[in-house]
Symmetry: D2
Amino acid sequence: MTVTPEQLAEIAAARSQSSTTRRPTVPGLEEILYEAIPILDHGFIRVVDYMGDDSAIVQAARVSYGKGTKKVSEDKGLIDYLMRHRHTTPFEMCEIKYHVKLPIFVARQWIRHRTANVNEYSARYSVMDREFYIPAMDQLAAQSDQNHQGRGKLLEGAEAAYVLDILKKDAEHNFSSYEDMLNQDAAGNQKDPTRQGLARELARMNLTLNTYTQWYWKIDLHNLLHFLSLRAEGHAQYEIRVYADAMLETVKRWAPLAYDAFTRYRMGGVHLSSGGLAVVKALLAGAKPEREQHGLSAREWRELMEKLGLEG
Amino acid sequence: MTVTPEQLAEIAAARSQSSTTRRPTVPGLEEILYEAIPILDHGFIRVVDYMGDDSAIVQAARVSYGKGTKKVSEDKGLIDYLMRHRHTTPFEMCEIKYHVKLPIFVARQWIRHRTANVNEYSARYSVMDREFYIPAMDQLAAQSDQNHQGRGKLLEGAEAAYVLDILKKDAEHNFSSYEDMLNQDAAGNQKDPTRQGLARELARMNLTLNTYTQWYWKIDLHNLLHFLSLRAEGHAQYEIRVYADAMLETVKRWAPLAYDAFTRYRMGGVHLSSGGLAVVKALLAGAKPEREQHGLSAREWRELMEKLGLEG
Amino acid sequence: MTVTPEQLAEIAAARSQSSTTRRPTVPGLEEILYEAIPILDHGFIRVVDYMGDDSAIVQAARVSYGKGTKKVSEDKGLIDYLMRHRHTTPFEMCEIKYHVKLPIFVARQWIRHRTANVNEYSARYSVMDREFYIPAMDQLAAQSDQNHQGRGKLLEGAEAAYVLDILKKDAEHNFSSYEDMLNQDAAGNQKDPTRQGLARELARMNLTLNTYTQWYWKIDLHNLLHFLSLRAEGHAQYEIRVYADAMLETVKRWAPLAYDAFTRYRMGGVHLSSGGLAVVKALLAGAKPEREQHGLSAREWRELMEKLGLEG
Amino acid sequence: MTVTPEQLAEIAAARSQSSTTRRPTVPGLEEILYEAIPILDHGFIRVVDYMGDDSAIVQAARVSYGKGTKKVSEDKGLIDYLMRHRHTTPFEMCEIKYHVKLPIFVARQWIRHRTANVNEYSARYSVMDREFYIPAMDQLAAQSDQNHQGRGKLLEGAEAAYVLDILKKDAEHNFSSYEDMLNQDAAGNQKDPTRQGLARELARMNLTLNTYTQWYWKIDLHNLLHFLSLRAEGHAQYEIRVYADAMLETVKRWAPLAYDAFTRYRMGGVHLSSGGLAVVKALLAGAKPEREQHGLSAREWRELMEKLGLEG
């Protein structure tokens, strides 16, 4: 289960409270504040706090007092300009905090981004929950035969069933071993009065990497967008991409102008190398550029043609 | 003048607005939100946004849902414990943003703390204001003859007057030269139609280091407390310490439990080296420890006796 | 096996090469460069590069040209002074790079230090090795009944054997499942020609947290000492402390003056709170201070008495 | 004078020393190690230490032991791939340290990059040198009338002379006032025995922003390239660009493959937004795309046409 009845009650209680503030407030984000957005089979993200909005970006860029007197259309133009020219510091003036529940192997990818603040559930202090990520059938893919780090075709019936069975059994089995070593049952009671139970900080090593953990994760908007540009992207592993996709939707609610600029100038854009640019110029001039002549590798040429929507 | 009439009006407008929010809100900090707290002769700090409070520290430490059910007394004990044992990450879950007006030589010290987000007024884009820091008479100190980087006795009458006169005249003169080179008067009008005016990014180099600049500065509570432990401390230069002192007051309003723990465990505490600890133990055992025997330098011994309130 | 014959050959080859350099060079560290120092059952650390030495700290503190003309005794005094007064930036001028092999659950603690540069072995690209951390008998401890995150007494005969058996069997079993899902044997050959094999980025989720991984980890001396002050300390989990202890020995070879200052002012020292300091002063004045009178909690009082070597 | 005779002697002494090392060593960079490369009228950069080379990037990417057995052509392909796909962490495995002498207003721009380690000459401890940046005639530009933060045409004869005269006189005058307030002459002797002299930490505020300062600045290759992509670029202010240009030359000596990849994929490349890409695709398809139809602002359209070498 993703969220327990107790947790639902706590979320409802938090959502029912309200205060008066002089701070910039974003109604569209307040609407979903604290709510758990389900991800994968047991995971979620929740926005639990935020600071600033589109106008905070503009304010920092203008280093002005208060909100300034410019029209919204000018705010939009300024934010587009900042995003286009990679003037990134004004985007650092907005901050957001998520509560995230995620499998450990996803957490290990995620934590490589070092510009956030993190507090994770501690398996030294506390006993983990019996919850594992088991991929849905439409995610059970074979190794790609083209890409060293990607997925290929879906596994078919018997092999898929075989794999699913292993994943489920092994995770369950290892969790039971974990409880045995702790000498503690699911309710937290001692199992065998003649045994001491292994220390939690040791017993945890028996858990599998698909066990769910959770953390508070706080980051500024610039670094969040950088994270999302890498993790909401087609080459990111599916299991982290679904988190990034859901976070991107929260950015859309939070700072719609920044979101829009990000979509057009970063996610939807492409980078051309000096060689790639030369090829495009040659094409525009009606020439038939050769790959070797412009110093592109076969792989680069293929990537360029894909970007341009041309046949290689 | 520290704050112009236009700015006062903008601050009043910002303060008059209010929204409803589900976020944690701190009435004591809301009270002074946006208000300019005067520092030095023309400077100020203003809290312009914040996120989180004492309960956000506790929440992160417990990685729990919602506010938890513990009593305030337990929150206090937990925050004390975290501060005492330097478990710093939960303090990173709170964030604050200041608008600061400060002399450039102070800004140069300040910016050495790299863990904040900053947007400074740009003298490439805009013309600076004619405002300089001129020390008050009770800050016009001679070089310390004991400390390479400190102040000694106050300058006396004639010398003080002489120094003040230089500081005022040179700053004013150089600012007038700046306007001359820009070919622009205080109202922004061209001075001499036959001249082009030097580029702003060049003309600024003629300004003195006591010219005021301003910035938005955003930081998390842990890093802010680290900054304050260095800059609200007796060895910090007076001109930055007054900013740190004022910020410390805002922390007291914002997160009173963290402020209290910080005061007792960091600011009011002392660190003893292994040698210093051995001396203290010897003293407690009624012995008369010798400096050399414990490997302390003369300076270390003096510092230790000062900490302990003993005569060297 | 910790290091394979091929790796030993590569290490020997790297060690046999030498170049002439104008850079500061530390013979004591060169001696062990590239060598694998064994940690735990299959882990190791290796120093694979470094930059700077004690003199680089001094040089930065003096912002001087070249090595300066001061005597070694003055260098020592300056480094002691910098360490004592937490002037940390000069220590950032030295940099070191380690190659580390470590269990995943240790890597998860380690990575929380965000100030280093890291490249980890990727289980998306490559198949993991069949190597797991299995604690030695003298580390198989029960949960502490005093400390939520610590170890208590050692497990006794039957329970120890039971736990060891689980850890070994589960890790081996899950690794075999991993190979089955990949449809690949230890030599990298396909096991069953009728199956495709699950993508590596998915199959890895079945591995246990005691599986070994490895990374390159690069950090400056200041941040390394901060890491070591937390991880070479008594409260750190044994499995990361042994790595920190070994790294501390490399620091001793690399920058002996900084190491010595660190040992005396950081590791061997204690911090007193304002209340603790007041108690010490009272004791030195021959009074009998009461805990409540100085506002110390029972736990704080106990910690203080321990620091002072007094009975509570 | 950029470098004093004493400094030249120290540099010569440092260059005359050599050690034997097992570390990766780059002869092309060793050649210029410690040498002062003159910048502007009194500034310089000097490479004073480094760690790693192209092979360290490859090694980290492969997380392999020792140098590996791959051919140089494959190293080049891998580094190109890493740069093209923004796999940035392997570039963080190389580190370089510069000694830089630069005007304060340039130092203020430079320090906004927070990912480096810095130790700057302290005007609290020491008296500054009488050295100022005075632009050469071919840099004395008027404010741009198109760009809020750029330069336009060169100033002509009389105005140029007028401006130069101000810059020289004001800097010299303020420095003399600085010495007067310190009550100290250029040789460090007291000027007037009846006066105490103002504290250095105060007197410095009278200096102009073109006064030279100096620092040690250490950074990893990834962050250095990011810095250079912003500061060796056409929109950067000339006075910082000349430093960046000189540093780029040192990168070429240090890590030629990374330099080459950087030149082709970052500096020489262009970024197209989603709208810009749509325009390019339309052009390649022989269509005549309209600006509005693709949602580009007038400014964006102009920037796009410039990138493509087309007339707007």
